[in-house]
């Protein structure tokens, strides 16, 4: 029997098949339906960072003079590098070539659950507790001061599933000694009839209160309203891509109260453009996950982020995922660089300059992350995962902007361990 090709007058065949597809839920991938099963997850994070002054010589030492406040009110905001302690501006040891100093250590615990409700809804709840201890600079990478703080945070999201889309409403609350954050968000998605294109639109409001633990300081407020629009597109049966555009308008207090001469503008507008692409390789059953983000804000900072991850299932339910991340930003308009390679005092603010910051996070630098994650499916319902990442940040690696070579090199590594259970 001669084989003939299916010609374009396949109309009847397609019409009947399309009709079959429109029967209730016969196809497998109903992207917009509530999850069939509930899930509870737990994940632990152990993070620690350090800095090294490049060059040889010198012993590892760190001089940080700290003054403990009355009672045990040493506070800190998580991983921010700010400190309540008042210290003398000194500590030149961090400028000695070859010296290294430990900085922040974090232990975080998160429990998360997702519960499907009545077939058309799902409720997600997360709770995080973390504690951070260590030392952080008061300016540039100098004058490390000790701190310790704990944070409690929770958030709730409720999603309603429709046949062609979803709506999610969420709220979050985070509290630490000197910082309270409240967030509200709404996100909607709408899919095309063939479910190959999905549009999403989201908006959020954040309302933060900052209570600097410094004598005489008053409470401050910071608010932001943000929006996001995105499109997700199925390109082939092995390719899916997404493009997102976000904008945030923030007003209020953006300075770091624990850093020397830190006075930032009262408005911060941020724009992000992000594309992501996942590609599945049929031969190896592996998946490549790529993303690029462009960031620009009214502080004058532009940043590029490139993420690449490869997910490779191997035998017996194991999966291996190596990852690489590249990052670069230029300095904020009001950033003040170090005045010498081994600075012993903060750089004076130039006369007439209104806004200033000597926070290394406002400087120009590049960063590299290398990581590996391993996951294992223990039973049909339980799986666990473990991830190790190593992060290097160097002012030398900045793609653009004015590099501040007086900054110490920054390194961090983290381990995450998690377990997920379906019910």
């Amino acid at each position: 029997m001669k084989q003939s090709s299916i010609t374009k007058s396949n109309i009847l065949g397609t019409a009947l098949l399309t009709a079959a597809m429109s029967l209730p839920a016969l196809d497998f991938a109903s992207a917009e339906s509530a999850p069939e099963r509930g899930m509870v997850s737990f994940k632990y994070l152990n993070y620690s960072e350090s800095q090294t002054v490049p060059g040889t010589g010198g012993t590892s030492s760190s001089t940080s003079t700290t003054t403990r406040r009355a009672a045990d009110d040493l506070r800190y905001d998580l991983i921010s590098g700010a400190s309540t302690a008042t210290t003398t501006s000194g500590g030149g040891a961090t400028g000695t070539p070859g010296s290294s100093a430990d900085r922040i250590k974090v232990n975080a615990y998160t429990v998360s659950t997702l519960v499907p409700v009545a077939g058309k809804w799902s409720v997600g709840l997360n709770y995080t507790y973390d504690s951070v201890t260590g030392a952080s600079p008061q300016y540039h990478t100098s004058a490390l001061t000790n701190m310790h703080d704990r944070r409690n945070a929770g958030d709730l999201a409720v999603t309603r599933y429709f046949s062609q889309g979803t709506v999610t409403v969420g709220g979050s609350y985070s509290s630490e000694t000197d910082y309270i954050s409240r967030g509200y968000s709404v996100l909607g998605s709408l899919s095309s009839a063939d479910k190959n294109t999905t549009w999403s639109l989201g908006a959020s409001l954040t309302d933060d209160t900052i209570m600097p633990q410094i004598p005489g300081a008053t409470d401050k407020s910071k608010k932001a309203v943000a929006g996001l629009v995105g499109v997700t597109r199925v390109l082939t049966k092995n390719d899916i891509a997404q493009f997102n555009l976000g904008y945030s308008h923030g007003t209020g207090y953006f300075s770091d109260p624990y850093k020397y001469a830190d006075n930032r503008p009262g408005t911060r507008n941020m724009t992000t453009l992000m594309t992501r692409w996942n590609h599945h390789f049929e031969g190896s059953d592996g998946t490549a996950r790529l993303s690029y983000r462009f960031y620009s804000d009214s502080f004058g900072i532009r940043a590029h982020t490139l993420d690449a991850e490869y997910v490779q299932p191997i035998s017996n339910g194991w999966t291996v995922m190596p990852l690489l991340r590249l990052y670069s930003q230029n300095e904020a308009d009001f950033y003040i660089a170090t005045n010498s390679p081994a600075e012993t005092a903060p750089t004076p603010v130039p006369a007439g300059q209104v806004f200033s910051s000597e926070d290394e996070r406002m400087s120009a630098f590049g960063a590299l992350t290398l990581g590996i994650k391993v996951a294992k499916k223990l039973t049909d319902d339980i799986s666990f995962d473990i991830k190790y990442e190593n992060y290097l940040q160097r002012s030398d690696w900045a793609l653009s902007g004015k590099k501040d070579s007086g900054l110490a090199e920054f390194n961090a590594h983290s381990i995450q361990v998690g377990v997920t259970c379906l019910f």
């Binding site: 029997m1 084989q3 003939s4 299916i6 010609t7 007058s9 396949n10 009847l12 065949g13 019409a15 009947l16 098949l17 009709a19 079959a20 597809m21 429109s22 029967l23 209730p24 839920a25 016969l26 196809d27 497998f28 109903s30 339906s33 069939e36 099963r37 035998s315 017996n316 039973t379 049909d380 379906l422």
Partner: protein, 327 residues
């Protein structure tokens, strides 16, 4: 492939293969025949629990769309023929929409009102019906005559009946498979008396080998089709029939003549959905000599055996038995 698997039999469910993941087979009776759910799971208990939910869905559809269920929707619609309107739920309305497509795509051959012809044919008592009886029954056939308004339906003539038997089984196979997939099953299939919807290939990625029965030698497999995804359905003149004076009269009746079709011994179709594969096999049987053209454009692949035993196939890549006879 055979070397990696061993089979062990046990009670209501059987462990049919061990390896990286166990494969279980759970048998049951439904839709007037034997059904099975084959899936991979960690334990027998889990396999039975998963299969139970699929079997429950199959039985739900069987009961809901049974002609005999006295408070069921089909009975209510048929009882009101020539009378008033019956209100239907969303699932039933969507099945009517599908019946419309079937009617159009088959040029009126696949007609869900043609079930009345069973009053003329009793396959347990061989005998040809009277011409007058057949003509009277043919008068009551015609899906185009059924009146529909939103979710309401009315059969305008007394004696008219609708019957979902033509695709209910395949629809149930699709629903069962989709349910298992939603529950996380990725390897297995749902088989309802030969109408199969695959959930996913074997745990090692190899396809399932589904046998197609020789239409004239029941014990023998004529071919086995490798299936990793999609569905396979078969219609044949051997499922219910009688022979009289050397001629075979099968259960697939032409709505225009009231007589059984004779051109094909069996038609098997590969398609993404069981309901589509099953519809194509039935339409092909009804189209008789014109079936090949229809099959060429309607499905992924087919294997058809005509009344003389000549085999026609397209894109099926079947594996034929090596030896001439296989028991």
């Amino acid at each position: 492939m055979a070397g990696r698997y061993s089979s062990v039999l046990s009670a209501a469910g059987s462990l049919i293969a061990t390896g990286a993941m166990n494969v279980y087979r759970i048998g049951f009776e439904a839709m007037g025949g034997v059904g099975e759910v084959v899936l991979s799971a960690d334990t027998m208990k889990r396999a039975q629990a998963m299969a139970a939910s699929a079997i429950e869905e199959v039985k739900r559809i069987e009961l809901k769309y049974s002609r005999y269920h006295s408070s069921g929707i089909v009975h209510r619609i048929n009882e009101s023929a020539g009378d008033g309107w019956t209100e239907c739920d969303d699932e039933t309305v969507s099945l009517f929409g599908y019946a419309d497509s079937l009617y159009e795509s088959s040029d009126g051959l696949f007609d869900i009102t043609s079930g009345v012809l069973r009053k003329a044919w009793d396959f347990r008592n061989p005998g040809l019906p009277e011409r007058e009886l057949l003509d009277a029954l043919i008068e009551m056939i015609g899906w185009e005559k059924a009146e529909r308004r939103g979710n309401l339906i009315r059969l305008p003539q007394r004696g008219m009946e609708i019957d979902f038997g033509g695709f209910a089984k395949e629809y149930a196979a699709d629903r069962g498979a989709a349910l298992l997939h939603a529950k996380g099953i990725r390897h297995g299939y749902v088989n309802l008396a030969g109408d199969i919807r695959v959930i996913g290939p074997k745990p090692d990625g190899a396809p399932w080998l589904i046998g197609i029965r020789d239409p004239r030698d029941h014990g023998r497999m004529m071919a086995s089709i490798p299936l990793s995804t999609g569905a396979l359905a078969t219609s044949g003149d051997y499922e219910r029939y009688f022979e009289l004076e050397g001629r075979r009269y099968c259960h697939i009746l032409h709505p225009g003549t009231g007589m059984p079709v004779t051109h094909w011994q069996s038609v098997s179709v590969l398609a993404p959905l069981a309901v589509h594969a099953g519809s194509c096999t039935t339409i092909a049987m009804l189209k008789e000599a014109d079936a090949l053209q229809f099959l060429e454009r309607s499905c992924t692949g087919f294997l058809a055996v005509d009344r003389l035993g000549v085999v026609y196939q397209k894109s099926c890549d079947p594996e034929y038995p090596k030896s001439p006879t296989l028991s």
